[in-house]
């Protein structure tokens, strides 16, 4: 078990600020040197991306970076102008501009060296994952003026940058060299993708029973060509909302009843999250997010909205459970920086840890949100993928008994995890706030679910006998896999965080990393990928504050493959022990 770090999480934002200042100083210097205002578009020159490398690496995660970005400019000018005065006496304009330029240049070189020699502490891990945090605030991009090529927006250029986070590199590697028992037994085994393949046979069987002949021949008035081809409400068919509300009620243990008219359907939870981000926050505002968190939040909540995420660190010594005190501190720090916090984003069950938020914690969270007058987004996309004895409590259940603050709570759901249908792109916003619902419905025009798919899902979810059996069997299968995997790791002396849901184990390999920081973590990740040939997600990709944790998704495997995976891990772990 990794010991709790002595350094307080309070230090993390401060560190970020430090780092950011360096980056800005860097940026100013680079901005001084190119004299051409708008260089001609490098259409013919090799890699257009390269032109954007420097601006994107300078992006910071802080929304108040706009004023800060200007500060160094001013200090820079203060430095240069008097120097020009001094030098002009003798050397004239040429020396007057050369000397300050040279000074700034050497300063930049110094900073660079200083930075690269500085061992990276885990708390800065966020800054070292280039792709996932690049959205940055738009204001910051705008103040930069020239971004190399005039044509494309700053938003696009930051997003176009290749993904060099281990999360994406790993996924790409598996795509090139996927394990296959027969055809490629030495290929990479995928444990990095959050996918459930355990129960696809049940759905396939349902389809073969129910999807006979043409999709139009199913009977019923809606299943003619008019029912699928024409314009339908962009926020989803009422039939699907009814079926979905029923399914959600079922999944959440029938302790709450969901209202179909509060359901907004989107093309996947990805767009559901983005739509909520657009609805609840303005550019530069922030959400508090307990870490470790799902790497995709950075994309979904931030990329196009200009909204920021403030990590609130949870630790292994607390089983990665959230503390209201930490939330409160992060809130106050943001306020001191002049940043408006619009809400808390939680995932319950938590991705990547797989633990559940207790009823007490949910009440506390609601109290916190009420006191601070902010929103709660509760991502409950794994609600049906629980496997322990612990009870899952939906945020909706808390509200049922306490009606006063319903309109600050918004729930995310979807069929990609619990129903193993990511390809169908069915996501849900469930909100108690009429205004959020109204705005979300309008925004779904950019992200509707295809109607033939909706029709199919309606008939699938309406077969409640099937869904109940499916959920039961699926939970049992997840539990079997979870127990096998955890037991296999335990035999290697590797422990996992306590979990009772989701498709993962959050595995503690901190004993095997050296140095004990993100660098060590990524080295081990690299060994796992290239020597053991398994792709896992390093904790740093999830903003975990402690190095050495890895998310392993076991629901892409079958039972037979678990001993193989454990064996592959053993090999790497043994070399680590020897060298350590």
């Amino acid at each position: 078990m990794a010991q709790c770090q002595t350094e307080s999480h309070l230090a993390a934002p401060a560190k970020q600020n430090n780092l950011k200042l360096h980056e800005h100083t860097n940026k100013i210097t680079t901005a001084y040197f190119p004299t051409t205002k708008n260089p001609p578009p490098p259409h013919t020159s090799g890699n257009p991306i390269s032109a954007f490398d420097s601006p994107t690496t300078h992006m910071t995660r802080n929304p108040d970076s706009e004023p800060e970005a200007r500060k160094p400019t001013r200090t820079g000018m203060r430095l240069i102008v008097p120097l020009q005065g001094i030098v002009q006496g003798r050397g004239g304009l040429l020396l007057g501009s050369l000397i300050p330029c040279a000074l700034v240049y050497f300063f930049q070189v110094y900073l660079k060296r200083h930075r690269s020699s500085n061992p990276q502490s885990p708390s800065t891990s966020a800054e070292n994952l280039p792709e996932l945090h690049r959205s940055s605030s738009r204001a910051n991009l705008l103040t930069r003026g020239s971004i190399g090529r005039v044509h494309v927006s700053a938003r696009a250029s930051s997003i176009a940058k290749p993904n060099d986070s281990p999360y994406y590199i790993g996924l790409d590697r598996v795509r090139e060299d996927p394990y296959d028992e027969m055809n490629n037994p030495n290929g990479i085994i995928q444990l990095g993708l959050s996918e459930n393949r355990l129960s696809l046979d049940l759905i396939e069987e349902w389809l073969s029973r129910n999807l006979s002949g043409s999709m139009l021949a199913e009977g019923g008035d809606d299943l003619n060509i008019r029912g699928i081809a024409t314009y339908q409400p962009s926020d989803g068919l009422m039939e699907l909302k009814v079926a979905m509300a029923g399914f959600m009620t079922e999944v959440m243990g029938r302790t709450v009843s969901f209202n179909p008219s509060s359901v907004v359907l989107t093309s996947g939870a990805t767009s559901a999250l983005e739509i909520l981000s657009f609805c609840l926050a303005d550019q530069g505002n922030a959400f508090l997010v307990p870490t470790p968190y799902y790497p995709g939040f950075d994309r979904d909540m931030r990329w196009r909205t200009g909204v920021e995420l403030i990590p609130v660190h949870c630790r292994s010594c607390d089983d990665f459970t959230l503390s209201i005190k930490a939330l409160d501190q992060a809130f106050n720090q943001a306020r001191k920086r002049g940043q408006k916090v619009r809400g808390v984003l939680i995932s319950n069950p938590s991705n990547p840890v797989g633990n559940l938020l207790s009823r007490v914690m949910l009440y506390d969270l609601l109290d916190f949100a009420r006191e601070r007058n902010i929103h709660i987004i509760s991502d409950e996309i794994f609600a049906g993928s629980t496997h322990g004895n612990e009870e899952f409590v939906s945020m909706a259940e808390i509200l049922n008994s306490e009606d006063s603050d319903r309109d600050r709570v918004h729930i995310i759901y979807g069929l990609s995890k619990d129903f193993s249908l990511p390809g169908f792109r069915v996501g849900v916003i469930y909100s108690f706030n009429e205004n959020v619902l109204a705005a979300s419905r309008k925004l779904t025009r950019f992200a509707s679910v295809s109607t033939p798919t909706q029709r199919l899902v309606v008939s699938m979810l309406s077969d409640t006998q099937f869904t109940q059996e499916y959920m039961k069997t699926n939970r049992e299968r997840i539990k079997t896999m979870h127990d096998l995997f955890v037991e296999g790791l335990r035999e290697l002396g590797i422990e996992s965080a306590k979990s009772s849901a989701c498709l993962y184990c959050f595995v503690d390999m901190s004993r095997f990393i050296s140095p004990y920081n993100e660098k060590g973590e990524l080295e081990l990740w690299d060994k796992l990928l290239n020597i053991a040939k398994i792709n896992v997600t390093p904790g740093s990709a999830c903003h975990c504050i402690e190095p050495g944790w890895f998310r392993c998704c076991y629901t892409t495997l079958n039972e037979k493959e678990i001993p193989l995976v454990i064996e592959r891990i053993r090999k790497v772990v043994e070399t680590c022990k020897l060298s350590g």
Binding site: P41, I49, L142, H151, V152, S153, A154, R155, A156, S157, A160, E195, R197, L200, I203, E204, S208, L211, S214, M215, L216, N224, I225, I228, A229, T230, Y231, P233, S234, S267, G268, T270, F278, C279, D282, R299, D300, W303, R304, T305, N373, D407, R408, S416, P422, G423, F424, R425, N435, A438, A439, L443, R445, F446, A447, S448, S450, P452, T453, L456
Partner: protein
């Protein structure tokens, strides 16, 4: 606690307006041949239902396509998990070939330059995100599709500056109008990032001439800006002059190796040409790698379900079917168009001469009580409430002349269209009878008060419900 974002809270404007009331009237009282023969006929919805029988019979003959099967074998597992934002390769290949086919195979498209989106609505917004920063502007010729005000601007915070076109030259785009719009943007301190045109035009129903296209390309070349050509109606061109895609212009001129090529982007969709808006399939085609790259990543926010992609890849790969569909559909659009034109002509109502689209651009200027937008709204209300036709007033499309209306003809049966024509004819007759009573009312000094209505109000008069285009 009404802590919503500006974007979320600004969208309820205009709900108490008479336009909204008119719209609700339609929702309450929709025409149905059997159940509600006195109801309001929907002519504000550009939907193509003319060739549903062809789609239906294809689906009946190809049950595998919708049943997750390939050659009788289930491919459900593959499709259930498929969520790659690069799209299903088979579908992208079939789609680019379909696009080429519609353009008479005079141009070809590379599927690597194609990005799939959830409908053209999302394609247009994504391009705005990619090409402009908040506060920068795109120029659009008027009249334009009212949904653009929301699709292009809402989340992206991009501005639209109108290129004013008028009936004096059949609403054609001119060099001076382009320059004027550019100048106007500069006066407003807006950086212009590009021009967006619909070709064929929604709401005019005309395809752009080669002259106009050349004009546009040289304009964006000179200004160093982008051109977005929204060609979602390309398959509806039923009369000469035929459709010329912007891609053709780029081939013909000396643009082959010019940087301008990378600044032209095409938007496409299967909602109009294939009559499948419910499938939510749109696409961006661009030669700019960076635009393709970032748009692909942004397409995560509007992916098309794998089931739909697979179904359509099978349908569009059936060359015999697509060939027949495209020509048959054109024929039917032409027939319908002629029917509406004839009917309106009998009622003494002229239309802009058009060669494409699922609608006519109807000239009712002579029916206005005065040459104001207020009079246009008055007439529009009469047509909705009394005549029982929901049509779209030109003001909702930012037309600068009052008295023009868009009437759709492809979202209903022939009988319904006949009834609509009957209704408008008797309405015109009743006006000409009553006209003799109060001729002096025509020139009452009502000023043009169009500005007093918020833009949201005007948009509501279009089929606001959803993704109508």
């Amino acid at each position: 606690m009404k802590l919503l974002s500006r974007k979320a809270s600004c969208n309820s404007h205009g709900q108490d307006s008479s336009y909204f009331a008119g719209w609700q009237e339609y929702e309450k009282n929709p025409y149905d041949e059997v159940k509600n023969p006195q109801g309001i006929i929907q002519m504000g919805l550009a939907e193509n239902q003319l060739s549903f029988d062809l789609l239906e019979s294809w689906l009946a003959q190809n049950p595998d396509a919708a049943g997750f099967k390939r050659n009788g074998e289930s491919i459900f597992r593959e499709l259930a998990l498929f969520q790659d934002y690069h799209g299903l390769p088979a579908f992208k290949n079939a789609l680019v070939e379909f696009m080429a086919e519609i353009r008479g195979n005079k141009v070809s498209f590379d599927s690597n330059n194609l990005v799939l989106t959830a409908g053209a609505t999302s394609a247009n917004e994504t391009l705005m995100f990619c090409l402009a920063n908040p506060g920068e502007a795109f120029l659009l010729p008027t009249p334009y599709y009212p949904g653009f005000d929301r699709d292009l601007k809402w989340r992206t915070e991009v501005e639209i500056v109108p290129i004013q076109c008028s009936s004096s030259n059949g609403f054609r785009i001119t060099e001076s109008a382009l320059e004027e719009a550019y100048q106007q943007a500069q006066n407003r301190n807006l950086k212009v990032k590009g021009v967006l045109v619909t070709n064929p035009s929604n709401p005019l129903g005309i395809s752009l001439s080669r002259h106009e296209l050349n004009l546009l390309v040289s304009f964006i070349a000179a200004k160093g800006i982008h051109l977005i050509s929204d060609e979602i109606y390309s398959g509806t061109v039923f009369n000469s002059p035929g459709f010329v895609s912007i891609m053709e212009v780029l081939m013909n001129k000396n643009y082959v190796n010019s940087p301008v090529r990378n600044r032209v982007h095409i938007v496409y969709s299967l909602s109009k040409d294939l009559g499948l808006p419910g499938f939510r399939v749109g696409a961006i085609y661009s030669n700019d790698k960076m635009v393709v790259e970032s748009a692909t990543k942004m397409s995560s926010f509007g992916l098309i379900s794998s089931q739909t992609q697979y179904l359509l890849s099978e349908m569009l790969s059936d060359k015999k079917f697509t060939k027949n569909y495209v020509s048959e559909n054109r024929k039917r659009v032409k027939q319908r168009h002629a029917m509406l034109i004839r009917g309106l002509k009998n009622a003494g109502i002229p239309c802009l001469e058009s060669n494409a689209g699922l609608f006519c651009w109807v000239d009712m200027r002579h029916l206005l009580s005065s040459k104001t937008f207020e009079a246009e709204m008055e007439l529009w209300k009469k047509i909705v409430y009394q005549v029982g036709l929901n049509i779209s007033p030109g003001s909702s499309c930012h037309c600068i002349e009052p008295g023009w209306f868009r009437m759709c003809f492809a979202n209903m049966s022939e009988q319904t269209l006949n009834l609509a024509i009957q209704r408008i004819k008797s309405f015109v007759n009743s006006i000409s009878e009553s006209n003799n009573i109060s001729p002096n009312q025509q020139y009452s000094n009502k000023s043009s008060r169009r500005k007093s209505f918020s833009k949201w109000v005007f948009r509501l008069s279009f089929h606001d419900r959803e993704t109508e285009r």
